[in-house]
Subunit: 268 residues, 3 copies
């Protein structure tokens, strides 16, 4: 827990600039979540300025939710610039598998070595299938299948892979941490996954180890959601309280509520 507390303190102390190329639906949410946690969001996609902005940022978040031809080019430019300047970049493959165009875009982006990839189980399974080696779709246990896909995707890309869901998994090759924070009502608010990715960006900007940064971000958001659910009457009040809690979350909250576990090889 201590590392999560330290990481959150670093975000609040350093207030890292997080550059986002994200979808129209969630820009407001993710900017608000970044501000609430103490980071400084920039949302920008214009080709002529991406290099300038990636350079001054601590991390770039690339989310393909409402992609089109111009924005795909923006994403590639940003990913290249992040590599050029040695900045972490985080890929959110929204809707992977839903269209051929999304799959092609993801394939292009993977060529530029994302530091971290965060998606839900179906997105990660789709990416592993599209781009590599899975055992097909006849696994009876979705959760196991997703985890296997995540491990395969991490091995193939070298990226930290985060699968979010009822239980979140953070994966780097054979290293897996499970996080059991969060609340089902978070699934009724648009952009909670995208918000997770944005927060990973904030933590990755100040924490050297992208695996630990991802674990901390997912755990903090999950706890903020659990705390919010205590009094929420539905997704409207839930969303509001998540921002309030990202702002207020204390070391004690983290100590009391974080639920992490490392999965040994036997669990896999």
């Amino acid at each position: 827990m201590e590392s999560i507390i330290n990481h959150l303190q670093s975000v609040r102390d350093e207030s890292p600039i997080v550059h986002n190329i994200t979808n129209y639906v969630v820009m407001n949410n993710t900017a608000n979540a970044l501000l609430a946690i103490g980071a400084s969001p920039i949302m920008a996609h214009a080709h002529p300025e991406l290099r300038d902005l990636v350079k001054i940022s601590g991390a770039s978040v690339i989310n393909i939710g409402t992609l089109d031809e111009y924005w795909v080019e923006s994403m590639i430019l940003a990913a290249k610039a992040a590599n050029e300047f040695g900045k972490p970049w985080i890929l959110d493959p929204v809707g992977a598998g839903a269209s051929a165009y999304r799959n092609e875009t993801i394939t292009k982006l993977l060529e530029h070595s994302p530091t971290i990839i965060r998606g839900n189980a179906s997105e990660i399974m789709s990416m592993a299938k599209v781009n590599a080696t899975t055992k097909g779709v006849d696994s009876t246990n979705t959760s196991d299948e997703a985890l296997e896909a995540g491990i395969a995707l991490s091995k193939k890309t070298g990226a930290v892979v985060c699968i979010s869901g009822e239980k979140d998994y953070v994966i780097l090759e054979d290293r897996v941490t499970a996080i059991e924070n969060g609340h089902q009502l978070m699934g009724r608010i648009t952009g909670m996954g995208c918000t997770a990715t944005a927060l990973i960006g904030a933590f990755a900007a100040v924490v050297k180890d992208p695996f630990q940064a991802t674990v901390s971000a997912m755990c903090v958001l999950g706890i903020a959601g659990e705390m919010a659910a205590e009094k929420a009457k539905g997704p409207g009040s839930m969303q509001l309280r998540i921002y309030d809690n990202l702002y207020q979350i204390s070391d004690t909250d983290i100590t009391n509520l974080a639920k992490l576990s490392s999965l040994s090889d036997n669990d896999l």
Copy 2:
């Protein structure tokens, strides 16, 4: 009332995918409203993927609020795909009459036979004027004039036409149902009309009769708004409570609060 209760249950049970090409202002609102009611929103506009996404959706919602040349093309592609795959599509003619460009775009979209059209009185009157036969603007009773325009527009296009306002009308040629739910404070929240259109999409995806789907969607949103207004202190808390209520609304709420009436020929 029973049909509304059944329709809402179908949305919650089937969780239909609703594809949206909508405006930047309300994407977050309408995604949240769709999630709250139990549907699964997709927001996407890229030309290369529209056919794929319309195909997997139960309905498409096309809202021209922040249109431009690329997006108009997206809208036409989506409307064509909806017809190709036999999916209902719903047109929200935001700002009809405010610019020549909006009117031209609406004319193009009407060529692709929307299943349902929802607008406010001035938008529907503008559409009826632009595209057909009205008696001019010298009617002394705006409400009557709007209703006449709605009937004319429905007859001309074959679409169900919904005029939202203090009283909502759902029209299919000479069949008219009036809904007296809702609250004036809803007019102080951006995108309440767009939210109505999105919810119509959710109901149209699971209810075969687009007339009944529209009545149910408008009634449910109106009731959610009325319930929200009881404790709201302004448009901020009103918006939040509408999401909470869309999530929580019960059969009893519908039974107690729905205010529907069919207008006979004599009323018209």
Copy 3:
């Protein structure tokens, strides 16, 4: 205080149409703030319709937050149309100084004589540096330096310049009014500056003197924020309450809470 009360009453009575070309992140916020205060927002950027829409609006707000090539052209078209039709237009130079592209865009927009410019201290300082005459960055007092930059920018452009921050300044050449309303938590909500600019648009649409319009808008938003902070538990509940308060704010609230002062030459 009386003029602020009168100006707010004019916004509520006249419900001016405010045209916005603004960034994706805040469109929802600024539309909601405009509706809450009593204005009628239009968000539109399509080249073919800008002249039509600026013509029917009382003011245009141009915010460069998520600019790209198409949108920059939209901004220029709107600024030209505003001048053609004698409408005030308000520039929000988001991120001035963060990229060469932003600076170039601002230079182009300044050629079309904005009526009012609102930015934070670093944006205004960057604009004054980029486009004119400052004394460099070695001032020890940022606030003084910003104020000097604002005065220089106003003199160079002829625009009213508003610098928002802990204390807001409204500047027309050597005339300066300081406003000490607001709350630090407003900085943790995305788009509060953009919301300020949008509200300035609403006031400028109904108040002839752009200096007074700006003072009134900044003061009303600051008071709404102060009132919101009394019960807010974080940025989520803060944002919600600001909308509620913009809707509810009374003459008495303004009389009791407005903190204005004119700076004489000796203060500068």
